[in-house]
Amino acid sequence: MQVPARFEYEKATSVPHALALLERYGPDARVVAGGHSLIPMMKLRLAQPEALIDINDLRELAHLRVEGGELAVGALVRHAELLASPLVAEHFAILIDAERVIADPVVRNRGTVGGSLCQADPSEDLAAAFAALKADAVVTGPGGSRTVPLRGFHQGPYETVVEPGELLAELRVPVRHGAGSAYEKVERRVGDWPVAAAGALILIEDGLITEAGIGLTAVSAPGFTAPEAEDYLIGREPVDAVFAEAGRRAAAVCNPHADQRGPADYKRHLAGELTRRALRKAARRAAED
């Protein structure tokens, strides 16, 4: 029987209340929302927070809307809500692709977007999807809010720029009219973490690529992205040879580790191939838009 170590539990009733609780309990407090990463880690005693601050009642962090040309995704939005959103489907097919292959429907009912990103698992699907979209993370603390590019949000495995006393409040993603996006993942079985996965965003104007975003996960790509491959795409035609070369360049920045999901060479191969496929699908969707 797996039981977490003892901890104090507080239910926050507002964002300022959550921040006050985080200040009161200090660096050994953890924020909990869906709990589908944190509670398993606490059961295994890999995490032993002294206090849990439950933010499940903070409806002000559960918004999902387009405002000022950006999609705003509250940290408390559940995976199932992101997947079911017509707004997300209209503008960000990549997020729908990714959510379809994250865990399973019952886990998606509970797990949150913010929790997934704050857990900072090196194989997190949403880290790659939001990196491809060049999203910003809004982090709230006692001194107010600050905006951090998602590509700089993760500091390493299980480590983010969110300081003790701070809270991830929302993700903001620019809406690019006419852009296409897609996510491609290889997993061992349904609902598993990726062996490797790649996301792509592409904007085509007058037959040439004018903006590109690439996200990669489970392959140790710095910042979950591949800027050199993105730069290569700009000004080129959206054809398969170009996507294949971008895939090669994306694979070159990866430093995957061999584990039970496969050897390093295979994962690097997947990084390139999945980047190519995601770009191809994103370009097709851009053309349909």
């Binding site: 039981v3 539990y9 849990l52």
Partner: protein
């Protein structure tokens, strides 16, 4: 800390440790052993219950998180002495052998049918994809849920 959880329309107030998992609260505190405790890692889905009409894995939720919420367990599927169509479907179509996964399967099936009354096979398989059955190969579970979809009629329609 003291919590009040409404389980199958009945409120229960208990003093619990914050680290008590919902599955153990239901089984050990309330004696509702219809909710099964399986893998303990949110993989197998034996512990699925509904919180506010949405299925969740109760081994990965703290009992204190259910404070003030409505929980439905397999014991709450029956209404006024009448089995839920999902329960009848599992009976009619031999949807179980050992029965360990069955309560969780039925609660997810109920949620699926509440939101999608006429699901096709792939939609049923997707809905239960986070739940493991080692007996049936899933075939009869899918048939059971289809049976429930086909036999969920208003009295006027069935008359």
């Amino acid at each position: 800390m003291q919590i009040t959880v409404t389980v199958n329309d009945q409120p229960y107030t208990r003093e619990v440790e914050p680290r008590l998992l919902l599955v153990h609260f239901l089984r050990d505190e309330l004696g509702l052993t219809g909710t099964h405790w399986g893998c303990d890692t949110s993989n197998c889905g034996a512990c699925v219950v509904q919180i506010d009409a949405v299925p969740v894995k109760s081994c990965t939720m703290l009992a204190v998180m259910a404070d003030g919420h409505h929980v439905t367990t397999v014991e709450g599927l029956e209404k006024n002495g009448e089995l839920d169509p999902v329960q009848k479907g599992f009976t009619e179509c031999h949807g179980l052998q050992c029965g360990f996964c069955t309560p969780g399967m039925m609660l997810t099936a109920r949620w699926l049918l509440d939101n999608n009354p006429d699901p096709d096979e792939s939609e049923i398989r997707e809905a239960i994809s986070g739940q493991l059955c080692r007996c049936t190969g899933y075939e009869n579970i899918v048939r059971s849920v289809r049976w429930a979809a086909e036999h969920t009629c208003t009295p006027e329609v069935s008359a």
